[in-house]
């Protein structure tokens, strides 16, 4: 099921803020549409939805969407969102970050938001590169991937966000791509049902910078690769993987893949799965637990007053 784009624009976007700063063909528009659709299908009241974003191309999304919105500082969105959620536990909080935002400068905040299991849907748009600043290496740039700060190919191992989320204690983890739009919306809807910290990693394309430097200058090439290089999860056989997107096109089997095999600390057999990767049963949002505690304290105070 999909609602008309014109309806989404009218109901969920801020026309005065458009056009966006995003390049033609960027996956962020698809992601913004999917978020709006998910909110719409869940029947959420816009007044009761907050979107908190960081800095970067992804960070601009909060300005375009007609919710209660904060475009915060680089990497700090989960911390701003934690304050808001603890103050207004009844609000639905969407925290939107890019890969550099979430995993590099904001890594500590992300880890602790997951550890606290604070109730929010965290959307991490992973395009393997810093886009807004001009195509520099990000924590998910694959080994051998060319960027403006890795002119000979990145030689660092990329972050395994899935393993991090598992270890830190996130309640839910799903991976989607901007190629698979129906499941993208469904996965955000699933995340909205979670009590606690629900992370949706969305593989997106920066063909203008990362693609151009890695023989995938067309958005369509990168988006097609998302289908060829990812596998749907089988609930009975969940495997972990961390390569965000493949390094080169088949026509150009140059250094990157070779570099991959030379690094002995890389799990080169891993596949990138999409779908629900894990969900922790019985998870309860931190803000709910906190306010339950306040209720108990209030009861104790009343009992003590009655004794007097």
């Amino acid at each position: 099921m999909k609602v008309q784009t014109s309806f989404i624009v009218k109901e969920y976007l801020r026309p005065k803020m458009l056009p966006s700063t995003w390049c033609g063909g960027c996956g962020l528009g698809i992601i913004m549409g999917a978020i709006a659709q998910a909110v719409h299908f869940k029947g959420l009241d816009k007044d009761n939805v907050a979107m908190v974003s960081g800095i970067g191309c992804t960070g601009r999304m909060s300005g375009y969407m007609d919710f209660n919105t904060i475009h915060t500082t680089h990497g700090r969105a989960p911390a701003f969102a934690t304050g808001l959620k603890m103050a207004r536990p009844e609000m639905t909080v969407l925290t939107v970050m890019g890969d550099g935002d979430a995993m590099s400068i904001g890594g500590n905040h992300l880890i602790h938001a997951m550890r606290r299991n604070i109730g929010m849907v965290a959307i991490v748009v992973n395009n393997s590169v810093y886009g807004l600043t001009g195509g520099q290496t990000s924590p998910t740039t694959p080994i051998g991937g060319h960027t403006t700060t890795a002119q000979s190919g990145s030689f660092e191992r990329p972050m395994n966000l899935e393993a991090l989320a598992r270890t830190a204690g996130a309640a839910f983890y799903a991976r989607a791509t901007v190629n698979h739009t129906a499941s993208l919306t469904k996965l955000i809807e699933r995340a909205l049902d979670v009590s606690g910290f629900a992370l949706v990693e969305i593989i997106s394309n920066c063909h203008v910078l990362f693609g151009k430097m890695n023989q995938m200058a067309e958005a369509s090439t990168m988006i097609a690769a998302m289908d060829e290089d990812t596998w749907r999860t089988n609930p009975t056989l969940l495997r972990r993987a961390h390569l965000p997107i493949r390094l080169t096109s088949p026509e150009s089997p140059s250094a990157p893949v070779h570099a991959l095999t030379e690094m002995d600390d890389v799990e080169d057999e891993s596949r990138t799965w999409r779908g629900v990767i894990f969900e922790r049963k019985g998870s309860v949002d931190l803000s709910k637990r906190y306010y339950n505690m306040l209720g108990r304290i209030r009861e104790q105070q009343r009992a003590a007053e009655e004794m007097v």
């Binding site: 919105t69 500082t73 700090r76 304050g83 103050a87």
Partner: protein, 379 residues
Amino acid sequence: MPTPAFMHGNQAVAEGAIAAGCRFYAGYPITPSSEIAEILSERLPQVGGVFIQMEDEIASMAAIVGASLGGLKTATATSGPGFSLMQENLGFAVISEIPCVVINVQRVGPSTGLPTRAAQGDVMQARWGTHGDHPIIVLSPSSVQECFDLTVRAFNLAERFRTPVVLLSDAIVSALREKLVIPDAADIAIFNRTQPTVAPDDYKPYEFLHGDVAPLPRFGDGYRFHVTGLVHTELGYPTEDAEIISRWWEHMSSKIEDNLDVILDWEEIELDDAEVALVAYGGTARSAMHAVSLAREQGIKLGMIKIRTLWPFPEQVIRNLAGRVGTIIVPELNFGQIRLEVERLVAGRAAVRGINRADGIQISPEHILDVVRGLERVP
């Protein structure tokens, strides 16, 4: 009935926060501020408020801005190194005009410095610590009573002018125990941020008012506005239009500069016939006040100005002082951060000298008096 109490400065700050209506605290432990967090972790749940210990000071500052947008009065407390980490999001609170209170209990720095020893080295960090030009309000308490009173005032000014307010305490007043009187709740003036009366479509969250601020509704109240660290229009949308930006700057500075009568706070002590004046603030003002009474016992005409609002600086008060006394002495636990301001304003019309140390030892009243007597010996 006003209630006499006996507590230390950090406790008075915590109780002042509760009395002012603070219902959200996020912080990270650091000496010598940690008691504020410890006390509020017990007190806030008792009044239905939120206490959360964050992963660092960056996150603490972020959380109090987020919670303030949720409609609560919010605070964090720290010391120099943590205050440095807060500067990024303190700037965010300035530009997005979100009320909040940041308490900095100063210790000797830079870096880990002397963590348990008092200093006043963050005067300029409090003024200019975050990047870019910006208005800020900084208050400095010199007694346990003032820890309580100025904390209440910090919240009121934050709410009134939609700005972060820094309470610049120090390890002298924070650890000091003395008597204070807590007024009846009904006698404590409380200011709550104003709420919009217009329809959501007509609401301008950042209206460029001269000398005033726009109302600030809670998130969830139907106004669905945008908050950003980018320079923005009256609607909160990013702009690069120089004409709009100059109107925005005019609003940002005038909301403070046009309200100095409300914001400035100082006290004149024995100044009527004084020939020499001390200018002091925070923990050092205690030694200065003692020095004044010792001097008066000895017939020395010493007076002082105790500054409680450090920023914006009481410029006219100091300019006027230059016409009244021949010498101004500025004792402070740094190497002259306020003395430089005083020299700038006095502009040669009086002699200005500092008494400065930052070795973890307080400036004694006798030390100040020796310096004053030394002046008298000069023909």
